[in-house]
């Protein structure tokens, strides 16, 4: 009985340790801006800026790149993907660009790429981005070619006053704000001397007792990490009052929440020593401080309260939708890592073989993880000894193919097209992982 209890408690500790690891400063510096940018794109970038280029009269040279870009800009939320997919297919640029859009959307949205970068490594994130765009276009072109006869018949049906005719331009201030937000994301993630070197070091007046430090150590949690978690809880509580009812206008709670987020980003960019005695200002802190102030000024000066409210609502919607699942997923990944013997993973996927890559893809199909949860799962496999090639194969296939999405697609575009789409994604992802594995082994 005692043994079971110790085992259970060690599993819980592992779960919490992995959770705290993910809420650490460097991950938050990336995730918080990524959520804000995702909300911004949803609220401030009119869909017509992209859909205009996906109409029935657009040439291939425009519609395919636009579809890939559209996946990046429009498709953070999966509930907009299917209607847009069907719209582009039936009334717009046709099957090919629609497939490109469908493929690229879930794989390269800003949250997925930055989170992959912070948690696993920017090499994997970059390749995930490049390969997704390349495959999206390639698979789209192939599908369009295979079904070219059927598509010719549907193409003639397109009506005149299509919703693709509408045009819309991004406000110059919105472009500026978008670039500033992006700069904030980059300033938070780049690991270069300019940002990481300590400028001024402070002795802290407070000292934690050895007991407290021990408890923190058991969960491999720094005191800065603890502070981050407290700040996140505070943000969550005040956002519940300030963001959830944003349609009724900005309240005091809204401003308090914004201030809390402001300070959390600043706190996360400080460099804190693990022994809890010193705190150092670095270039990152100064960069974030300047960017945050400029962002607040630009936002307040150029946008109405309604526009800002919509931005906050979209951001909060993503947080509510994704964050709880992410926490559960990270916690579970920490526990599973303790249960699965590493040699299983190493035997099956420790080497970069075609078989190992295929296993990565098949695992992605049968395991359905909500948006972003694929990242901690992938990190878990990496820690257990999975090679980087199969890991990339898994990351490419998982958001695209799950039993659930295959069923939905089946309903929308029929068995033949779905079967070809699924096989193309599986083959391409396997090959991509394999080639990536070969390239990394040559370099490394």
């Amino acid at each position: 009985m005692d043994n079971i209890l110790t085992y259970a408690s060690s599993l819980l500790v592992a779960g919490f340790a992995s959770l705290f690891d993910y809420l650490a400063a460097h991950v938050l510096l990336c995730l918080i801006p990524a959520f804000i940018i995702a909300g911004f794109m949803s609220a401030m970038i009119p869909k017509e800026t992209i859909t205009h280029y996906l109409g029935p009269r657009s040439s291939k040279w425009i519609s395919y790149p636009a579809a890939a870009l559209g996946g990046f800009v429009l498709a953070v939320c999966s509930c907009t993907i299917l209607p847009l997919f069907a719209g582009i297919w039936k009334r717009g640029a046709g099957l090919g660009p629609a497939i490109t859009f469908l493929f690229v959307g879930p794989a390269i949205n800003i949250l997925a790429i930055t989170y992959t970068g912070a948690a696993i490594g920017f090499d994997i994130a970059l390749w995930r981005l490049i390969l997704s765009i390349f495959f999206g276009i390639a698979i789209g072109l192939m599908m369009a070619w295979v079904f070219r006869k059927e598509e010719l018949e549907t193409a003639t049906k397109t009506a005149n006053n299509s919703p693709f005719e509408q045009k819309s331009k991004l406000k110059p201030a919105a472009t500026a704000l978008f670039l500033l937000l992006f700069a904030m994301l980059i300033a938070g993630t780049l690991q270069i001397g300019l940002f990481t070197n300590d400028l001024v070091t402070f002795e802290l007046p407070i000292h934690f007792s050895a007991g407290v430090m021990n408890i923190l150590g058991e969960f491999s949690l720094s005191w800065q990490g603890l502070l981050m978690i407290i700040m996140l809880i505070l943000i969550g509580l005040s956002a519940w009052k300030g963001f959830n009812q944003i349609q009724d206008g900005l309240s005091n709670w809204t401003y308090i929440t914004i201030a809390l987020i402001f300070f959390t980003i600043l706190l996360a960019s400080l460099h804190a020593a693990a022994d809890a005695t010193t705190l150092a200002l670095n270039g990152r802190f100064i960069a974030e401080l300047i960017l945050l102030i400029v962002i607040l000024i630009v936002a307040a000066k150029n946008f109405s309260k309604e526009e800002l409210g919509e931005w906050i609502w979209e951001t909060w919607k993503f947080v509510k939708q994704i964050f709880p699942l992410l926490i559960v997923g990270v916690f579970a990944a920490g526990i599973i890592r303790e249960i699965i013997p590493p040699n299983w993973v190493q035997t099956i996927a420790g080497q970069n073989t075609i078989f190992a890559n295929l296993v990565g893809v098949i695992f992605g199909v049968f395991m359905y993880f909500p948006t972003l949860v694929e990242v901690p799962i992938a990190k878990m496999f990496l820690d257990l000894g999975m090679a980087r090639g199969p890991l990339l194969a898994y990351l490419l296939a998982d958001p695209e193919l799950s039993l659930q999405s295959i069923l939905v697609l089946n309903g929308v575009m029929g068995r033949k097209k779905t079967a070809l789409y699924v096989s193309l994604v599986a083959v391409f992802s396997t090959l991509a992982g394999y080639l990536f594995g070969i390239i990394t082994s040559l370099i490394g």
């Binding site: 907009t80 209607p83 919703p163």
Partner: protein
Amino acid sequence: MMILKILGSGCANCKRLEELTKKVVESHKLDAQIIKVTQHDQIMQYPILATPALVMNEEVLVSGRIPTLSEIENWLIKV
């Protein structure tokens, strides 16, 4: 009587749009029936690219975003 349709597969924005529409209908005591359309093939009958969408007597008022309360009031009270 006017027929209002909320198009959307049930995501947060569609629920928000439904709430707002109900609010307008109730506060102005409009003679309206609100129908939720959640099936993809039915949604795609309308010339829209993104949900949520609000349809009044088969005419699309807005799609792809949540309109403000006053916008909805303008549309519904005009008739």
